[in-house]
C-alpha cells in the first residue's frame, strides 16, 4: 500500500483521498479512519462559514481566500521572517481575525440584508486576495507560481492504527476538529458572547431588544469565522499544497457542506460534513477517485431533492407549526 498523499501534485483534491486501495481486508478500517479524517476536514472547512452565516446571514465568500491567505502568511512568516512555526501560526490567525473584522466593518456592513450584494462584495474581496497572491507575492511572498509550497506537518511520520497507516497530521486534524466543535459548543451555550451570537442568529431584532448589538456580534462572528478558516488551513494544508485554486475549492466545499446541512445550522453542518466525507471516501474506495466530484454533487442534489431546507434546516417547519 502506498501512502504518498502528495505524489499526485498540486490539486487540493489530493488532500481528500490518498491512495488506491489494494487489499479488500483493509476496506472497512481504511474507510472508517480516512472517512472520519475527510469528514472532519470538511467540518473544519465549513465551521467558520456556517458560523458567520448563522449569526449575520452574511454568506462570506471570502472564506476560501482567508484560508489560503493564512497558509501563505504562515509559510511566509516561517520561511521569510524566520519565526518559529507555532508563533507563525498564531500571528497568521490573528491577522485572519483582524481581516475578517475589517471585511465586515468596511465592506459588508454597508450591504446588510442584501444577500446578492453580500455575495458579490465578499467574492470580490476573495478575488482580490487570491488573484493578488497568484499574480505576485503579497508581503514579500515571492515566486508563488512555482511547483509546491506547503506547510510542514506539526509532527512528521505516521502510525499503524489497526492495520491502517495514518500520518500524525491526520490524527491531529481529528483531535483539533473534535476539540473545536466541543469548544464552540461550550462557547455558544455558556458564555454571554456565545449566547448573544445564537440570539442574533435566531431573531436579530428580538436580540436587539435585549441589548445585543448586532453589528458588534457580526464583527465577532466574522473574526471567529476567519480565524477558524485559518485554523483549518494550517491543519489541512500540510496534506496538500498552497495554491490559489485551493481557495476556490475550499469555498465550494464550505458551501456544499452548509447547503446540505441546512444553511446556518451548526449541527447540520457537522452532520453534512460526515455525510459528504464518507460518501466521497466510500465511492473512492469502490469506484476510484474519478467519481469523487460526481458523488459530491450527487449527494447535494439527492439530499436537496428530499429535504430542500437541508438536513437540519428546520427553522421553517417550526415557524409553520407554531
Amino acid at each position: 500500500m502506498t501512502l504518498e498523499y502528495r505524489s499526485d501534485g498540486v490539486s487540493a483534491i489530493s488532500i481528500l483521498h490518498h491512495s488506491t486501495l489494494q487489499e479488500p481486508d483493509f476496506y472497512s478500517m481504511e474507510i472508517l479512519i480516512y472517512g472520519t479524517v475527510n469528514s472532519i476536514i470538511f467540518a473544519l472547512i465549513a465551521l467558520g462559514f456556517t458560523l458567520v452565516y448563522g449569526v449575520s446571514r452574511v454568506p462570506n465568500f471570502a472564506h476560501g481566500s482567508i484560508y489560503v491567505l493564512v497558509g501563505f502568511l504562515t509559510w511566509s512568516f516561517v520561511n521569510n521572517s524566520g519565526f518559529p512555526y507555532a508563533l507563525a501560526v498564531i500571528f497568521s490567525l490573528v491577522v485572519a481575525a483582524i481581516l475578517g473584522f475589517l471585511i465586515y466593518r468596511i465592506v459588508l456592513i454597508r450591504l446588510r440584508g442584501m444577500a446578492t450584494s453580500e455575495i458579490i462584495a465578499s467574492f470580490a474581496v476573495s478575488l482580490i486576495i487570491l488573484e493578488g497572491l497568484r499574480m505576485q507575492g503579497i508581503a514579500g511572498f515571492k515566486g508563488f507560481i512555482g511547483p509546491f509550497y506547503t506547510l510542514k506537518p506539526f509532527i512528521e511520520g505516521k502510525i499503524n492504527l489497526l492495520g491502517v497507516f495514518v500520518d500524525y497530521q491526520r490524527l491531529i486534524i481529528i483531535g483539533v476538529g473534535v476539540g473545536m466543535v466541543i469548544l464552540l459548543s461550550l462557547f455558544t451555550h455558556h458564555t454571554k458572547t456565545g449566547l448573544s451570537l445564537r440570539a442574533i442568529a435566531q431573531d436579530e431584532q428580538a436580540a436587539m431588544m435585549l441589548g445585543v448589538n448586532s453589528d458588534r456580534m457580526a464583527e465577532i462572528a466574522m473574526s471567529i469565522g476567519s480565524a477558524l478558516a485559518g485554523l483549518a488551513a494550517v491543519l489541512i494544508l500540510p496534506l496538500g499544497s498552497i495554491t490559489a485554486e485551493v481557495g476556490y475549492r475550499v469555498l465550494i466545499y464550505a458551501l456544499a457542506v452548509c447547503i446540505i446541512g441546512g444553511l446556518g445550522s451548526w449541527g447540520g453542518a457537522i452532520l453534512a460534513a460526515f455525510v459528504i466525507g464518507f460518501a466521497m471516501k466510500i465511492s473512492t474506495a469502490l469506484f476510484g477517485a474519478l467519481w469523487e466530484s460526481v458523488v459530491l454533487v450527487g449527494t447535494i442534489i439527492l439530499i436537496l431533492l428530499f429535504k430542500p431546507s437541508g438536513l437540519l434546516g428546520k427553522q421553517k417547519e417550526l415557524e409553520e407549526r407554531v
Binding site: G113, A199, A206, M209, L210, G211, V212, S214
Partner: protein, 250 residues
C-alpha cells in the same frame, strides 16, 4: 415624575401616517396602557420607543424599500433618545417584549432567559431568574424545553420573563394577551400587575382588548388611526361611554 415623555411623535411609512402627533407620558413606577384596534399604531409606537424602528428604517433604506420617517421627540429620563440605537436603549433600561413574543425557538427556556440576562450582572441575573420562576412557576418545569415547543401562553410567560432578565427600568409589553385563552389572559394580567407592584418597574402595555388590562393600569391612552383620541385614569376610561362601546362591547 415622568420617566418617558413622547412629544409630537409622527411616523410615516412612505406617505401613509402610522403615528399622528401623539403625546404620551409614562410616570415612574406606574402601569400605563395604550389601547387601540388593529392598525391603530400600537406596535409602531412600541417599535419607535424601543428603537427597533431605526433598524427597520435602516434595512428598508438599504434595500431601497419603504421610506420610513420619524419626527418628534422621545424623552427618556429627560434625555432625547430619538437617535439612540435599539441595543443601546435596552442598555439604558428600555426593554421591549414584542408582539407575537418572538422568543428564540431553537434555544431552551433556560437559554432564552440567559440570553435575556446578557445585560445583567451575574448576581442580578440569578436573582431575576429566581423571581421569574416564582412569578411563573409553570416555567420551572419547562427549563429544558425548546422555545418552539411551548404553547402560546407559555411562550408569552417566557417572553415577559426574558424581558425582565434584561433589568428594565421601562418595560414595554406589546399585546401580551394576543391570541391567548381567557384563563391565560387572567394569569398574565395578574402577573403584569405583580411585576409592577413587587419590583416597581414602570410598564407601558399595549392591548387591543381592554377588559383584562384596564383594571391593572394607572393611566391609559386610546389610539385610533395613529392619533391618541382619549386619555385618562383607569376609572375615567372605564366609565367613558365611547370606551365602553368600543372596547368592552357593551
Amino acid at each position: 415624575m415622568t420617566i418617558l415623555e413622547i412629544k409630537d411623535l409622527m411616523v410615516f411609512y412612505e406617505n401613509a401616517i402610522a403615528i399622528n402627533n401623539v403625546h404620551l407620558a409614562c410616570r415612574r413606577g406606574e402601569v400605563t396602557g395604550v389601547f387601540g384596534a388593529n392598525s391603530a399604531g400600537k406596535s409602531t409606537l412600541m417599535y419607535t420607543i424601543s428603537g427597533i424602528i431605526l433598524d427597520v428604517k435602516k434595512k428598508e433604506k438599504m434595500r431601497g424599500g419603504e421610506r420610513i420617517t420619524v419626527l418628534g421627540s422621545i424623552l427618556y429620563e429627560s434625555k432625547d433618545i430619538m437617535a439612540v440605537e435599539a441595543s443601546e436603549r435596552a442598555r439604558m433600561g428600555i426593554v421591549l417584549c414584542p408582539e407575537r413574543r418572538r422568543i428564540f425557538q431553537e434555544s431552551t427556556v433556560l437559554e432564552n432567559l440567559k440570553i435575556g440576562g446578557i445585560l445583567a450582572k451575574r448576581e442580578q441575573g440569578k436573582k431575576t431568574m429566581e423571581y421569574v420562576f416564582n412569578l411563573f412557576p409553570h416555567l420551572r418545569n419547562l427549563k429544558k424545553r425548546e422555545g418552539g415547543f411551548l404553547s402560546g401562553g407559555e411562550q408569552q410567560m417566557l417572553a415577559i420573563g426574558r424581558a425582565l432578565m434584561a433589568q428594565p427600568k421601562l418595560l414595554l409589553l406589546d399585546e401580551p394577551l394576543l391570541g391567548l385563552s381567557p384563563l391565560m389572559e387572567e394569569i398574565l394580567a395578574v402577573a403584569v400587575k405583580n411585576i409592577n407592584s413587587q419590583t416597581g418597574i414602570t410598564t407601558l402595555i399595549s392591548e387591543q382588548y381592554a377588559r383584562p388590562i384596564l383594571p391593572i393600569i394607572h393611566y391609559g391612552y386610546v389610539l385610533e388611526n395613529g392619533s391618541a383620541v382619549l386619555e385618562g385614569t383607569s376609572e375615567e376610561l372605564t366609565d367613558n361611554p365611547d370606551v365602553k362601546s368600543a372596547y368592552f362591547g357593551l
